[in-house]
Symmetry: C2
Subunit: 345 residues, 2 copies
Amino acid sequence: MRIIADIMGGDNAPLETLRGVCQAAGEEYSRDVEFVLVGDEDKIRKTADENLLDIGKFEILHAADTILMTDEPMSVMKEKSESSMAKGLKLLSSGEGDAFVSCGNTGALFTGASLIVRKVRGIQRAAIATVLPFTPPLLLIDSGANVKVNEEYLLQFAAMGTAYMRAIYEVTSPRVGLINNGSEDCKGTELQISAFRRLSESKLINFIGNVEGNMLAFDVCDVAVCDGFTGNIVLKTVEGMGKLFGRELKNIFKANPMTAVASLMVRKQLSDFKKNFDSTEHGGAPILGISKTVIKAHGSSNANAFKNAVKQAINCQRTGVTGIIAEEAVKYAEEKKSMSAAQRN
Amino acid sequence: MRIIADIMGGDNAPLETLRGVCQAAGEEYSRDVEFVLVGDEDKIRKTADENLLDIGKFEILHAADTILMTDEPMSVMKEKSESSMAKGLKLLSSGEGDAFVSCGNTGALFTGASLIVRKVRGIQRAAIATVLPFTPPLLLIDSGANVKVNEEYLLQFAAMGTAYMRAIYEVTSPRVGLINNGSEDCKGTELQISAFRRLSESKLINFIGNVEGNMLAFDVCDVAVCDGFTGNIVLKTVEGMGKLFGRELKNIFKANPMTAVASLMVRKQLSDFKKNFDSTEHGGAPILGISKTVIKAHGSSNANAFKNAVKQAINCQRTGVTGIIAEEAVKYAEEKKSMSAAQRN
C-alpha cells in the first residue's frame, strides 16, 4: 500500500505533518505501507534535519507551490496546479498511490478530489464525512462540502455513510437519521420533507427518521445526514461547545487551592474525558464518493492528528470502503430504476 | 401591568405553571403586577387546593380546551380557538393585558401571536429570540419560527435583536453576526450571501460579519442572526451538548470514593457552572415583532423556568421593547426607501 501525504497543507506544516507521518510509519499498522511525501523538497529535508526526523525511507515528490487556506477551491485546478495538493492528487489519480492525506484547504481538496481523482461511478456528489466524538461515534455527512443538495444527494450520502460505518466501525446495520428541526415527517424545508420520503422508501438505508440537534450526542443514530451548510453549523457548534466546556472545566478547578487538590483527585477521569473529546484522536474526515481514499485532516492538525489521519487512510484502504461505496452506488442505481419502472406501471 | 399566563401549556401543566406564577407574584418585581390565569378553571382551583397554592388574588379566565404539543400550528385559529392559548392571546389582543406567557406548542403560539395579536407595523415576519447561556449572553434570532426567510427578514431580525439586547441587557451597540459556514463574504447559500451584503449596507445595524458555529460561545457578537431552520439546529445542538457535558461531569465524579470526595471540594463551582447553563434560569424566548409582549417558555418548564419567563415578560413590558422595535421598524422602512431612491438616481 502506498500512502501519499501532503506535507505542506495546514497551519502547522511542514513540521507537524512530517512528524505525524514519521510517527505513523513507526506503528505496527504501517508495516507494509510505503509513504510518498509531497511538498517543497528542500524545506522537507531541512525541517527533517533540524528536527532529527528520519525520512530516509520515504519517497519525496517535489512540489514548488502550496495552496493557502485563503485560496479559491478552483485554484487546485488552475494557478496552483503545481502545489503539493494538486501534485499529490494527480499521483493518486495516476494509480501510483492508494490514498491521499492532507490538512490543506478543504474546498480545494474537495474540488481536486472530485475533478482530478474523480467520483465513484453513479455517485452524484462526493461528501465530507466527519466522525463526531460521541459514544458510540456518530458520522456526520455532509459535514461541509455541498452547501446546496437535493434529496437524491442526501440518499447517496446516507448510503455512503452506511457503507463507511459498516466497514470502519463494524456497525452491522447503521441507523441513519436526517438532521431536522423536528421529529415529524412534515418538518424542515422542502429539501428535508422530500428527503424524508426518499429515505423512507429506500431499502438500502436503515432510516430511523428525523433527528434534532439535542439528540445527536445520545446514540439515536450512527449516521446523521444533512446538507453541507447544516453539517458545517453542527460540526462547528459541537466543536465550539467542546472548547467552551473544556475552559469551564479548567475554571472550576483553578478557583482556589482546594479545587486544585480536587483536580488531582479526578486527574485520570479528566484526562479520559479530554481524550474522548480531543479531535486529534479521531483522525481526519474521509471525502466519501471519490474513487480512491482521500482524507481531510483538520487545518490545525498537530503531529498526533496527522498521524491518526494517516492511520485512518490505511484503515479505509484495508477495509476497501471505496469499493464498497462503488457497489452501493450500483445497488442505488438499480433501486432507482426499479422504482421509476414501478411508478410508470 | 397585567400579565396573562397560559396555565395549561407545556409538559408540566397545570401544577408547575401555577407554582411558577405564584412564585413570580411573590417577588418584588411583581409589586404592581396583576395576573390573569387562563385555563380550565376547575382544574386550576383543584390543583391549587391540593398543593396549597394561594391563587385568591389572581383573576381566572376559563378555557375549556388545551392545545397539545402534537396539534398543528393553525389549530390555534381553528378547532382549538377555545383553548387557553387562543383565549389568552385574544385577551392580550383586546387590550386587557400587557403580556402573554406560555410553555405550549411553539408553532401554535407563533401563529396565534402573529395572527391574533398581530405584528408590529412594518415588520414582515416575527421571530423567536432565544438567549444562549454564554458569557456574555448571546441572542439567537430566529431560533426556530421561520424555516424560510429572505435577506430582508434577516435584516429585520437583526434590528429586532439589536433593540432587545439594548433594552434588556443594556448593550449600547450590540454586535450582530450572521451565522454562516465560513467567515468570508462569499460563504453560504444565496441567502447568506445577499444577507451579508444587506446587513453591511444598513446603518441601523452594527454588523461584524459572518460567525461560525465554533465562535458563538466566545463573545464575538451579541446577536446571532439566521433562518429558523439553522437557528433550531444551533439551539438544539447547544442544548444537547450542555446535557452531554452535564452527564460527563457526573461520570467524572462518581467514578470512585476519591472522585466523590473531590466533587464535594468543587461543589460551589459545579453548582455555579450548572446554574449558568441551566435553561430554567434564563426565562423564555420572546417572540419579537409582535405588537405586544409574548414569551414562549420551554415546553418542559418547571416552576422556576415559568417564573423566570413571567419575570422576563414583566421586564420586556417595563423596558418597552415592543415600542422600541416599532420605532426601529419605522427607521428601517425609511432607510430602505432612501436606499431605493439612491439606486434610482
